[in-house]
Structures are given as structure tokens and as C-alpha cells.
């Protein structure tokens, strides 16, 4: 009799340990996925900032009378370099996106510039990084959503409480820039 009770207790303990390990690992894995998504965004933001001086160098000769447009791009880049928190980064990046959009729109008036192989190349690269940022951001928010759903519903909530994990913030994307990934190709 005592033996049976002992066996049942051991089985129950193992059962609960397995559930605990499962939830522990899942929470940690999701958290790593979120960190990794952010690292992806960060890499792309840096790459984008690095491409801007090249672009300015190429464009300068052609667009002498577009000082305002050029300056807004330079300023947005400076803001991006200064940004610290994820949200600051994203906001500065949105600014840069807007500035680049008007620069490329203005470039339509300069046939010589549009025929420049270097310019075309930079435009492709910038579109690529911009899309990558948009999709990393989407993946980041998707991952945060899965994480938050897990730590806010029972029983995940209990484990999260035990591990001292709280819900994470999604990156806020202003309405105007929702359509960002669909830039003119």
C-alpha cells in the first residue's frame, strides 16, 4: 500500500517537473527569439546608416539645388546614429525612410543620375535594407505577441510569475509608415 502511494507520488513529481521544464524552456526560447529579432533589426539599421554617406557622395554632384532634401536625409541619419532605445531607433528609421522617399522622388527629375550604375545599386541596397527592417520588425512583433500570449494565459502566467518574466512591448509603428515595405521598386 505504502509502496503504491510512493510510486504515485514519484510519478506525479516527475509529471510536474516535465511540465515545468517544458514551460521554462519555451519561455526562454521565445525570449531568445525576441532578442535575436532585435539583433536582426539592429544589424540592418547599421547597414542602412552605412549606405547613406555613399549615397550622398553619389548624389551630390547631380543634385546641387536640392539642399533641403539632402539635409533631411543627413539629419535623419544623425538621429539614427544617436538613438539608444529600440523605439528611438525605429522612430529615427521612419524619419530616414521618409527623407529617402522624397530624395528618390526628386531623383526622378535627374535622368543622368537615374542612369548612374552606382546610384541604381545603392537604391536597390537601400530598398533591400528597408524591407529587411520592416520584416524584422514584423517578426519581432509576431514573436512578442506569442511571448505575451504565453505569459498572460494560465498556466503560462504562473510559470512566468515564478521566473519573474513580464510581458514585452511591441514596436509601435506610426500609421503613416505602415505601408513602408511596399516602396516603389
Amino acid at each position: 500500500m505504502l509502496l503504491w502511494i510512493g510510486i504515485i507520488i514519484i510519478i506525479l513529481v516527475i509529471f510536474f517537473l516535465l511540465i515545468f521544464f517544458g514551460y521554462y524552456n519555451r519561455i526562454i526560447r521565445l525570449e531568445n527569439r525576441i532578442d535575436n529579432s532585435w539583433a536582426q533589426i539592429d544589424v540592418q539599421l547599421k547597414r542602412r546608416a552605412d549606405l547613406i554617406p555613399n549615397l550622398m557622395e553619389t548624389v551630390k554632384g547631380y543634385m546641387k539645388h536640392e539642399r533641403e532634401t539632402l539635409e533631411s536625409v543627413t539629419n535623419a541619419r544623425a538621429a539614427l546614429m544617436k538613438a539608444k532605445t529600440p523605439q528611438e531607433n525605429i522612430d529615427a528609421d521612419n524619419m530616414l525612410t521618409g527623407a529617402l522617399k522624397s530624395l528618390f522622388a526628386v531623383a526622378e527629375n535627374y535622368p543622368d543620375l537615374k542612369a548612374n550604375q552606382n546610384f541604381l545599386n545603392l537604391q536597390d541596397e537601400l530598398t533591400n535594407t528597408e524591407n529587411k527592417i520592416a520584416y524584422s520588425r514584423q517578426h519581432f512583433n509576431d514573436s512578442v505577441l506569442v511571448f505575451n500570449n504565453l505569459v498572460e494565459t494560465i498556466p503560462g502566467k504562473w510559470f512566468a510569475g515564478f521566473m519573474n518574466k513580464k510581458t514585452k512591448e511591441m514596436l509601435q509603428i506610426p500609421d503613416a509608415s505602415r505601408e513602408v515595405p511596399k516602396v516603389k521598386f
Binding site: 536582426q40 541604381l120 536597390d124 517578426h139 514573436s143 521598386f185
Partner: protein, 301 residues
């Protein structure tokens, strides 16, 4: 009008259905092995010793050489980043791999006038996406993105592995029933059997082995069609833009190159649209769902 269905629900329902189909496939395969044992030896144990290792070995070999076999059947070559069209293709694949949270797949190009694409590979870590030069020429970047998202979804949903396994299992079943057929023709089968064996059961076993390849093929086609819808919806979820793929499918529907499609028919189910069939009918023998129905579903998302 059908009400709008949430993309996530699409995905969940399709995934559940696929598990059933896979189970059916495995069951079919096991029954074939047992039937062969019964017909040949009147003894299931002996068939386990002979038929099972042969069949499993065949499946394992097919599985391990599948990727290079598919790529060489399609005469595909790695994308060249020095050409602008192919560089942009690589860019779109990079973006979609980020959206899907998957490692970057290898990018291949197939010289063909047709607008088409396929994904292959054994698992998401070593995925391959191949696009025709026709698609690069005729699709704009938004449409190309839709097509890549569809292929990336095949990788993400483990369709590439499923397709490879199913092709291997269908092949193994066909191979075994062929062996049985020839050996019966030469009078080899049933020699080891005792006289009092149940004749009805024997007849059933033979009938089953004959019908099995047809069953297997139909099951495979059902999977393939369902997986296309699933990849369409997952792809739309990745780009958040179902219109891109819908427009690409419209272009595929209205595009009729004069040259004959190249490549092998066995890999047809892998493509985004069947390269060997232009008739838009939903029949049991189609590898893909009707293109108009796919467009309609994408438009309703």
C-alpha cells in the same frame, strides 16, 4: 460570398488535415508490405524480414539524394548576384527569410520562358528556392515577393520534407507492386504457401497491392493541392499582402509561352503552378488546385 477567413485559421485547419493524410499514407505502406508477405510466403513474419528492409532502404536512398536530383532534373543553376534581376531575387529571398524567421535558403534560377518557381530541401535549415528566368522577366517586385513568400511557406511548413517523403513512399509502393506483378507473371509467388490458405484473403491482398499505387498517388495529389492553399495563406501572412501573389497567379494564368515546358514530370507538384497543365479544372489527378480558386481565396483574405 464566402466570409473572410482568418489566415491563422486557414493554416491551423490545413495542418490538421495534412496529419490525417500522412497517417493514411503510412498505413497504406504498412498494409502493402504485409500483403506482399502474405501473397509471397503466406507468412507475414518473412515479409518483415525481406520486404520491409528493401522498402525502407529504397525510401532512405530516394530521400538522401532528392535535393540534387530535383535541381538537376530542373537544370537549375545558382543565382548570379552580378545580374540585376537575379540580385533583386536574392534580395527578396533574404527579406522573406527574415519575415519567416528562417535561415537564408539557397537561391537557384531555371532557364525557362514560363513563370514558375519551386522550393525543395530536406528541412528548413537547408532549403532551396528556384525561380524561372521567365518569372524574373515578367513579374514585378511585388509579385515576385508574393511568389517567394509562397515558396518560403513551403519551407516553413515542412512541405518540402513532406513532398520528398511522399515521393519516396509512392515510389517504394509502386516498386514493390511492380516486383510482385512480375514475379506473379513468372509464377514465383505463392509457391511457398500451404494449400489451405484462404483464397479470398489472397485475392484481396493481390487486389490491394495492385490498387495501392493508385491510392498512394491520389493521396499524394490531395496533399499537394491542400499544401498549395496552405502555402498561399502562409505567404500572405508573411508579406501581409495577399494581392502580390494573387497578381502573380493572374499573370501565370494569362501567360502562354509558345515553347514546350522542359524538365521532368515527377517534380511537377513542387512548382507553384503545374508547368505541364494549362487546363483549369479541378480533378482528382491535378497536382494543384484550380488557379482561379486560389486567386479568389487570396482576394478574400
Amino acid at each position: 460570398m464566402q466570409e473572410k477567413v482568418l489566415v491563422e485559421d486557414h493554416i491551423r485547419r490545413n495542418k490538421r488535415q495534412t496529419i490525417y493524410v500522412c497517417g493514411l499514407m503510412a498505413l497504406l505502406f504498412i498494409v502493402v508490405v504485409f500483403s506482399i508477405g502474405y501473397i509471397f510466403f503466406g507468412n507475414i513474419l518473412i515479409s518483415l524480414i525481406f520486404a520491409l528492409p528493401i522498402a525502407l532502404g529504397y525510401i532512405a536512398i530516394t530521400y538522401s539524394i532528392s535535393v540534387s536530383a530535383v535541381l538537376s532534373a530542373a537544370k537549375a543553376r545558382p543565382a548570379n548576384p552580378l545580374l540585376r534581376e537575379e540580385k533583386l531575387l536574392i534580395h527578396r529571398v533574404e527579406e522573406m527569410s527574415i519575415a519567416a524567421g528562417l535561415p537564408m535558403p539557397k537561391v537557384y534560377v531555371q532557364d525557362s520562358e514560363y513563370i514558375n518557381a519551386f522550393a525543395t530541401g530536406r528541412d528548413p535549415k537547408e532549403g532551396v528556392i528556384c525561380v524561372t528566368t521567365g518569372a524574373l522577366k515578367k513579374l514585378n517586385q511585388e509579385e515576385l515577393e508574393g511568389v517567394i513568400a509562397h515558396e518560403m511557406s513551403h519551407i516553413k511548413n515542412y512541405d518540402i520534407r513532406l513532398a520528398t517523403i511522399t515521393i519516396a513512399v509512392v515510389g517504394a509502393i509502386a516498386l514493390m507492386s511492380e516486383i510482385l506483378f512480375y514475379s506473379m507473371f513468372w509464377g514465383g509467388a505463392g509457391r511457398g504457401r500451404k494449400g489451405e490458405g484462404n483464397l479470398i484473403l489472397l485475392a484481396l491482398a493481390i487486389l490491394f497491392v495492385i490498387l495501392a499505387p493508385i491510392f498512394a498517388r491520389l493521396t499524394y495529389l490531395a496533399i499537394s493541392r491542400r499544401r498549395e492553399y496552405l502555402a498561399d495563406s502562409t505567404g500572405a501572412y508573411l508579406t501581409r499582402n495577399p494581392g502580390g501573389l494573387a497578381k502573380a497567379l493572374e499573370k501565370i494564368r494569362d501567360d502562354h509561352p509558345t515553347v514546350k515546358p522542359k524538365g521532368s514530370k515527377t517534380v511537377a507538384p513542387l512548382y507553384i503552378s503545374n508547368p505541364f497543365k494549362k487546363v483549369d479544372a479541378s480533378s482528382l489527378s491535378s497536382t494543384h488546385p484550380p488557379i482561379n480558386e486560389r486567386i479568389r481565396r487570396l482576394r478574400s483574405m
